[in-house]
Symmetry: C2
Subunit: 832 residues, 2 copies
C-alpha cells in the first residue's frame, strides 16, 4: 500500500519540532528578556559578567538567527534559584536528534507516534531471531521493571531520610552517648525503661547533662536553649549552602515544577542525580533545623528524580519524553505513598494533582510502584511500629452525628487558613522576587531559622519535630497516658479495671497544653508563610497539617469539656447522656489536619483517601470528607487556586490547567497570529522557492517552523516544516555538492518537473514535511481549541478560513490569552 | 466584539447533529438490516407483523428520505431481548430540539458547548434580580444536590434488595412462623440461641418441620428437596416473566450497556423508571432462585437508573446528554459502593471501567455520591453487622513471604478460569443469538433454574446463598467455630485459655468439606457460563468470586496441611517452625476470589481496592495485588478482552475503547468515504444552489449532514450543515411565503449579492452553518485520528488534502476499520 510507505517515511523524520516562539514580535521581547536576565545575573553573581553575557546572547541571536529557544534560560527559570545548576545541567546537555531543548514544551503527539513506530519495529524484528525475541520481551516488560526499581529505590530513600531526619532532629536536644547513632526513641528502647514518653530516659542525655550538669535550673535551660539554636543554625546553614552551590533546583517543595514537567515541559537537570542526592540530604537538614516545613512534598520530587534516573536505563522511556512521563507519574505516586504510607492515596494524588496526559493508562503501574515503595519502607520500618503508616491511629469510640457541626466548623477554619496562607505566602514570594531580598537567600534562611528556633524552644509543642507533634495530637488519650494533653481530673472507672479513665474535667495540664497549643498554632501559621519559598527543600503538607491538627485538638477538647459539663444539652443528648465519653479530641485533630491541608492545596479525593489510610477505618471517612468539602468551598470562595497552581502562575510556567474551565466567548480568530495589521504569516511555497530564498528566510525569521503552502496566492496548506530540519537539510545539500546551488528550486512535492526544467538541480525535501499538522477554522470557539491543546497535547495549531491558511496558535498564545482575560500580565508566561 | 456575536448565534443552533450513517452504500445495507430485523421480529413476536413492518420501513425510507438512524432499532439492540420495552420506551419518546434519536451517538463537543452557553446565560441573568440569583445558586449546586439524592436512593434500594433477597433465599428452605417477614438469621436472633451457625434454631422451621414432620429421614429430605426446587422455579418464573413483559432491558448485568451509554450513546428506556423497578425486583427473585448469579452488577445498573431519574429533576443534567453522563458516572460509583460497601473502590471502578469522557472532573462528586450511598446502606444495616462492608473479615495472622507462591498460583488459576469462562460464555451467547434457542427465553431460564436447583440442593455449599458461601470461605476458623470447614483434629492451646485451637490435622469434616467444595467449584464454574446472558438480571461478580474463593480455600487448606505436616520443609522454615500456625485458608479464599474476578473482568486497581476495603488491612494488599496481576497477565495471554468488552463487541455497540492501543499503520485516506472509485462526496455550494436543488438533494441522499464548500470546483470547506436543520429551514421558508420560491438561491455567506441580482428573493442560511467542523488531512495517521475521536468525543471529522475537502470519517467508519483489521466482521458494528 502506498499510503503505508508514505506514513513510515513521514514517521522517521521528527514531526513539527519546535514551532513555539514563532511570533512576529518575539524578537524584541527576546532581547528584553535577555537584558533583564543579564541584569539579574549581574546582580546575583558577579557584576562583571553582565556585559559578556549580553554580548554573547546578541551574537547568538544575530549571527546564527537562532531564536531564544536555543539559548538556555535555565538559570532564570526557577523562582527559588538564580544561579546555574552546575552539576546536573552539564550532565544532560548532550543534544540528540529528536530531543527537545531546555525549557521547551514537548509534543505529545509526535513522541507517542515515535514510540509506536519503535514498538512496531521491535515486534517485527522479534520474529527474526531468538536474541531479538529476548530484546522484544525485555522491551515489553521494561515498564514494569522500571517502576519496580523506582518503587524500591523510593522506599529506600524515604527510609534513609526518615531515619536521618529523626536522628538529627533529636541531636538538637541531646545525644545517646552509648550509641550516638541512635535517636532518642531508639536510645530509650535500648535502656530498660519500658514506656517511652515525654520524659527522658536514663540513656539519653541532653547537652547540658552531657556537660555534667544534672540539675535543672535556669542555667541548664539557657545552655540547652543556646545549643538548640546553634544546631538549628548549623543545619540550615549546611542545607542552604549545599543547595546554593551544588543543586539549586533542590529547593522548595518541587510539586509545582513536577506538575509543569508532567504537563509536558522540559527543565533539564530538575530531576537530575545531584538534585536527588542534595535534596535528600538537605531535606533531612532542613527538617532537623526545626524549620516550619515538611519532607513530604520534597519526597515526591526525590521520587521523581529516582524515576528519571531509572528511566535512562530503559531507552524506551529515557529517550522519549512523553513515555518518560509515564514513569514519572508512577514515581510521584510512590513519593506520596512513602511520605504517608498510603499507596492508594498516592495513586490518587498522582491522578488528581500531578499527572496530566495519561491518567488512566498508568494507574495500574503507578499502583504497583506505590505499593512496592510502601512495602520496602515498611521493611525498613523507620517509624518503629509495624504499621505501614506514619501517623497510625486507632480510635475506640465512634463519632456521633452532632459532631458534624464542629467538623464543618473545622472545615471553615481550614478553608480560611488556606486562603490566608496562600494569599500571604504569594505576596511574600512576590516581594522576595521583586526586591533585593531575593539576592540574599542564605541570610534569609539563617534569619528565619534563628527566629524559628528562638520562638520554638520555649514551647514543648513547637520544640519537637512537627510530625511527632502531629502524631501526639492525633492520638487518643489512653488510660496510662500521663502527658499534659491527657491530664484530666480523672475518674476511676470500674469498667477499666479501676484504671484511670482519661475523661473528665480538664486538669491544669490540659489547660496549660491548650495555651501552649494556641501559641504554637499562631507561630506555625505565620512562620510557614515565610518558610515556604526559601532556598531549602520545604514541603507544605506537614506544617499545614500541624496547624489544622492543633486547631482541631483545641476545638475537640473544647467540645469534649462542653459535653462533659453539659451532657444533657440537647445537642449532646443521646450520645453523651450519663456522662458517657462521646468526644475524641484526637479525631478532631485529624479532621482539622485534613481541613487545613485541603484549604492550602485544594486536594480532594486523594486527601480524604490519604487520611483514611492513616486510620484504616472506613467510618471516619465521613467526618473527614465533610471537613475537606467545606474547606475547599470556603477556600474557593477566596480564590480558586491551590498553592501549587498559584506558584506555577507566579513562576510563569507554561501550564495549561486541565481542570479549570474556560468561560469566555472568544474564538480562534481573536487569538491567532498574525493579528490584524501585522504582516502576513511567513510561509514557504511548495515548489516555487530557491535554496537561497529559504536560507534568507531562515536568517531573517526566527520562527521554529514554517507552514508550507501550494502558493502564496492560494494559501492552500500542504504541511508544516521545522526550522531545525530545514536548516539541516539545506546545509547538507550545500555540503554534498551534488549540483545544488543558490538558485536551485526546493520542492516539497512528490513529482518534480523533469528534464524540461533546464535550471540547476532541484532539491527535494518532501520527506521532512509534516503532512498532517493540526488545523482548525478561525471560527472555532476557544474552549474547543483549549480542549484540543489539553487533551491531544499539542504545541501549535494552524488556523484556516475557507480552506486557506490564515494564521497559527501556539500554546503560549493560549496561555497569554487566558492571562489577559483574567486581568493578569500576559508577559508573565515566560517560557515555551 | 463581532466575533462574540457570531459565536453566540452559532451556538444557538445545534451543531452537526447526526452525520453518521451518511455513507454512499448505506441504502442497500439499510434495507438489508430492515429485512433482517423484520424477519427476526416476525419469528419472535407474531408472524403476521412481518409485512406491515417492512412496508412501513420502506415507506419511511422512500417517502421521507430518512436514514435508518431515524428509525428506532430499539427492539433489536439488546442481545438479551427481542421484544419492545413497552413501558420505558413510551415514556421518553417525546423528541425535543437538540436531543438525540434513539441509538445515536452523542456529540460531546456540541453538548458541552450548549452547557457552557446555558451557564453563561444564567450567570449573566443572576445579577439582575434576587430570584435569578437564587436560580443561579440552585443551578450551581444542583450537581451536588443531584448526586446526594442519587446516593441516598442507591443506598436505600440496595438495602431493600439485600433484605428482600436474603428473606426470599431463606424462604426456599423454611420460614419463621412467628414472624414470617424475618429471614433465618434474624429469626434465630429473636430466639434465645446465642450463636447462629449451620444448625437451625428452634424458631426457624424448615418446610418439612412446618408440615409437622420433625424426624430427619429420607422422606423429609425429599420433601425439602422438592419444595426447594419448586420455590426456585417459581422465583425464576416470576423474574423472567416480569422482565419479558414489563422491562426487557432489565436483563443481564447491564454493565456493557452502561459502558456504552457512558461512552456517548443513546439507548432510550435503558435507564428508565420501569427498568429500575423491575430490575430491582427481579434481581431479588433471581438471586433467591439460587441461580449462579449475583446482584452486584445489576446494582450498578439500578444505581444508573436512579441517576437518570434524578437527573430529570435538574434540567442542567436531564436535558443535556453529555452532562447527564456526569451524574451517571457518579451513580455507577455509588452502585459498586453499595454492592460491596467499598466507596473508594466504587469510585475507582467508575474511573477505570465505566467512565469514558471525564474521568477526573467528576471524581470528587462521585466519591461523595458513593460515600452517601454507603452511609445510608450502613444505616439500614442489612448485613446485620455494624460494618459497612459485605464480606467483613479480620485475620489475626500476617502472611508470609513463601505464601506468594500459592498466591501467584491462584492468580494463574484465576487467569485461566477467566479465559475459559469468557470463551465459553461468548460461544454460548453467540449460539443463543444464532439458533432458535434465543426464541424461548422463558424455557431457557426455567431449564437452567431446574438443573441448578437440582444439583445445588444436595451440596450444602451450593444450597446456600452464594454470598453467604463467600463470607464463610473468607472467614478464618475461630476457637469456637465448629463448622465442617474448621473441623480439625484440634489441639488445646494454653495460650487460648485452653480452648480449642483450630489448627491441626484435617478432621473428617474438613475432608468432607474439601470434596463438597470441589464439586461446588465445578458446578458453579460451569453453570455460570450458561446463566450469564439469560433473560434475568444476572451479575458476574459474586459467581466469579465464589469460584475463586472455593479454589482459594482448597489450595489454602492444602498448603495449611502441608505446613502442618512438614513444618521444617525449607519453604516453611521460618514462618511455620515449631508447629506455629502460619497459613490462613480464609486469606487464600479472598486472594482466589480477587484472582478469578480479575480474570473474568480484567479489572485492576479498582478490584484490589475493593478487596482491600473488605479487610481494611493494608498488609493484605500485596497478596491480592500479586494474584490480580498474575491473573490479568495470564488472562490477557488468551485474549485481551474482559467479559464486558467482549459482550459489547458481541452486541455490536459503537464503543471506541479508550484503553486499547491502535497498532496499525493506516492513515486517514485509507478509511475516509468516499472510497476510491465511489462517486464524490455530496457537498453543498455556499452560494450557488437553489431551494429546489437542495430539496432534491435532501430527497435523494440520506446523509445526516452535508459539508458546505465555496464551489464544487475548488472544494474549499466553509462549514457543515445538518440535514435536520436544513430540511426544517427549507420547509419554514416555503411556508412563510415571503417570496422564497423553487429557484430562489440559497446563501450560506454573510453577504448576499444585492439588488443587482434580479432573480427571486434569496434565502440566507448562514446561521445554521457550523463554521468550525473538525478537519484533518488525508495523511494523518489513524492512531491520531482515533485519539481525536476518543478524547474530544467527535461524531465525524472532515478530511482535506491541500486545503480542499476530500472526504469524511465517522465514528462508525473507525469502528468498522478496527473490526476489519482485527479480522472481525465490520458489519457487526450495527448502530451509530
Amino acid at each position: 500500500m502506498e499510503s503505508k510507505k508514505l506514513l513510515e517515511a513521514d514517521m522517521s523524520t521528527p514531526k513539527y519540532e519546535s514551532m513555539n516562539g514563532g511570533l512576529p514580535d518575539d524578537d524584541d521581547e527576546l532581547l528584553d528578556i535577555a537584558t533583564e536576565i543579564a541584569t539579574e545575573t549581574a546582580s546575583t553573581t558577579s557584576a562583571g559578567s553582565n556585559q559578556p553575557f549580553l554580548a554573547w546572547f546578541r551574537r547568538k541571536v544575530d549571527a546564527t538567527g537562532m531564536s531564544q529557544d536555543d539559548i538556555s534560560l535555565q538559570p532564570f527559570l526557577n523562582s527559588c534559584e538564580s544561579s546555574t545548576n552546575i552539576l546536573d545541567s552539564s550532565e544532560e546537555t548532550m543534544l540528540e536528534f529528536g530531543q527537545y531543548d531546555d525549557f521547551h514544551t514537548i509534543d505529545w503527539v509526535r513522541d507517542i507516534s515515535r514510540d509506536r513506530l519503535r514498538h512496531k519495529q521491535i515486534s517485527r524484528k522479534s520474529k527474526e531471531s531468538c536474541w531479538d525475541l529476548i530484546k522484544g520481551t525485555h522491551d515489553a516488560w521494561s515498564g514494569w521493571l522500571c517502576v519496580l526499581f523506582v518503587g524500591m529505590a523510593a522506599g529506600l530513600f524515604a527510609g534513609i531520610v526518615d531515619i536521618g531526619a529523626s536522628w538529627m532532629s533529636d541531636l538538637k536536644e541531646g545525644i545517646c552517648p552509648e550509641a550516638f547513632w541512635l535517636n532518642k526513641e531508639q536510645c530509650c528502647w535500648g535502656s530498660n525503661d519500658t514506656t517511652f514518653d515525654d520524659r527522658s530516659c536514663s540513656q539519653w542525655l541532653t547537652w547540658s547533662q552531657l556537660f555534667g550538669i544534672h540539675t535543672e535550673n535556669a542555667g541548664t535551660y539557657i545552655l540547652d536553649y543556646i545549643i538548640y539554636v546553634l544546631w538549628a543554625l548549623s543545619f540550615s546553614m549546611i542545607a542552604v549552602f549545599l543547595v546554593r552551590t551544588l543543586a539549586p533546583y533542590a529547593c522548595g517543595s518541587g510539586i509545582p515544577e513536577i506538575k509543569t514537567i508532567l504537563s509536558g515541559f522540559i527543565i533539564r537537570g530538575y530531576l537530575g542525580k545531584w538534585t536527588l542526592i542534595i535534596k535528600s540530604v538537605c531535606m533531612m537538614l532542613a527538617v532537623s533545623a526545626g524549620l516550619s516545613l515538611g519532607k513530604e512534598g520534597p519526597l515526591v520530587h526525590v521520587a521523581c528524580c529516582i524515576g528519571n534516573f531509572f528511566s535512562y536505563l530503559f531507552p524506551k522511556y529515557g529517550r522519549n519524553e512523553a513515555k518518560k512521563r509515564e514513569i514519572l507519574s508512577a514515581a510521584s505516586a510512590a513519593g506520596v505513598s512513602v511520605a504517608f504510607g498510603a499507596p492508594i492515596g498516592g495513586v490518587l494524588f498522582s491522578l488528581e494533582e500531578v499527572s496530566y496526559y495519561f491518567p488512566l493508562k498508568t494507574m495500574w503501574r503507578s499502583f504497583f510502584c506505590a505499593l512496592v515503595a510502601a512495602f520496602i519502607l515498611r521493611s525498613i520500618n523507620p517509624f518503629g511500629n509495624s504499621h505501614l503508616v506514619k501517623f497510625y491511629v486507632e480510635y475506640n469510640t465512634p463519632w456521633f452525628f452532632f459532631e458534624l457541626l464542629p467538623f464543618i466548623l473545622l472545615g471553615v477554619f481550614g478553608g480560611l487558613y488556606g486562603a490566608f496562607f496562600n494569599k500571604f505566602n504569594l505576596k511574600w514570594c512576590r516581594f522576595r522576587k521583586k526586591t533585593r531580598m531575593g539576592l540574599f537567600p542564605i541570610a534569609e534562611v539563617m534569619i528565619v531559622t534563628f527566629i524559628t528556633a528562638l520562638l520554638a524552644f520555649p514551647n514543648p509543642y513547637t520544640r519537637e519535630n512537627t510530625s511527632v507533634l502531629i502524631q501526639r495530637l492525633f492520638k487518643d488519650c489512653g488510660p496510662v497516658d500521663d502527658s499534659d494533653l491527657c491530664d484530666y481530673n480523672a475518674t476511676y472507672a470500674p469498667n477499666l479495671n479501676n484504671r484511670r479513665n482519661p475523661y473528665g474535667e480538664a486538669g491544669t495540664g490540659v489547660q496549660n497544653a491548650m495555651w501552649q497549643l494556641f501559641l504554637a498554632l499562631i507561630l506555625k501559621g505565620i512562620l510557614t508563610i515565610f518558610t515556604f519559598g526559601m532556598k531549602v527543600p520545604a514541603g507544605l503538607f506537614i506544617p499545614s497539617m500541624a496547624v489544622g491538627a492543633i486547631a482541631g485538638r483545641l476545638i475537640g477538647t473544647g467540645v469534649e469539656q462542653l459535653a462533659f459539663n453539659f451532657p444533657d444539652w440537647i445537642l449532646f443528648d443521646e450520645a453523651c447522656a450519663g456522662g458517657q465519653r462521646c468526644v475524641t479530641p484526637g479525631l478532631y485533630a485529624m479532621v482539622g489536619a485534613a481541613a487545613a491541608l485541603g484549604g492550602v492545596t485544594r486536594m480532594t479525593v486523594s486527601l480524604v483517601v490519604i487520611m483514611f489510610e492513616l486510620t484504616g477505618g472506613l467510618q471516619y471517612i465521613i467526618p473527614i470528607m465533610a471537613a475537606v468539602m467545606t474547606s475547599k468551598w470556603v477556600g474557593d470562595a477566596f480564590g480558586k487556586e491551590g498553592i501549587y497552581d498559584a506558584h506555577i502562575h507566579l513562576n510563569g510556567y507554561p501550564f495549561l490547567d486541565a481542570k479549570e474551565e474556560f468561560k469566555h466567548t472568544t474564538i480562534a480568530a481573536d487569538i491567532m497570529r498574525p493579528r490584524r495589521g501585522d504582516p502576513p504569516l511567513v510561509v514557504i511555497e511548495q515548489d516555487n522557492m530557491t535554496v537561497e530564498e529559504l536560507e534568507t528566510l531562515l536568517q531573517e525569521e526566527d520562527y521554529n517552523g514554517f507552514p508550507v503552502v501550494v502558493s502564496k496566492e492560494t494559501q492552500l496548506l500542504v504541511g508544516f516544516v521545522l526550522r531545525r530540519d530545514l536548516s539541516l537539510a539545506l546545509d547538507e545539500a550545500r555540503k554534498a555538492q551534488d549540483g545544488v546551488v543558490s538558485n536551485s528550486r526546493v520542492y516539497f512535492t512528490t513529482h518534480v518537473p523533469g528534464p524540461l526544467d533546464v535550471g540547476p538541480k532541484p532539491l527535494k525535501l518532501k520527506k521532512m514535511l509534516d503532512q498532517s499538522p493540526f488545523t482548525i477554522t478561525d471560527q472555532t470557539p476557544m474552549e474547543v481549541v483549549i480542549d484540543m491543546f489539553r487533551k491531544l497535547g499539542l504545541r501549535q495549531c494552524l488556523v484556516t478560513h475557507k480552506g486557506r491558511l490564515l494564521g497559527i496558535i501556539t500554546k503560549k498564545d493560549i496561555l497569554r490569552h487566558i492571562a489577559t482575560l483574567a486581568n493578569q500580565d500576559p508577559d508573565s508566561i515566560q517560557f515555551l
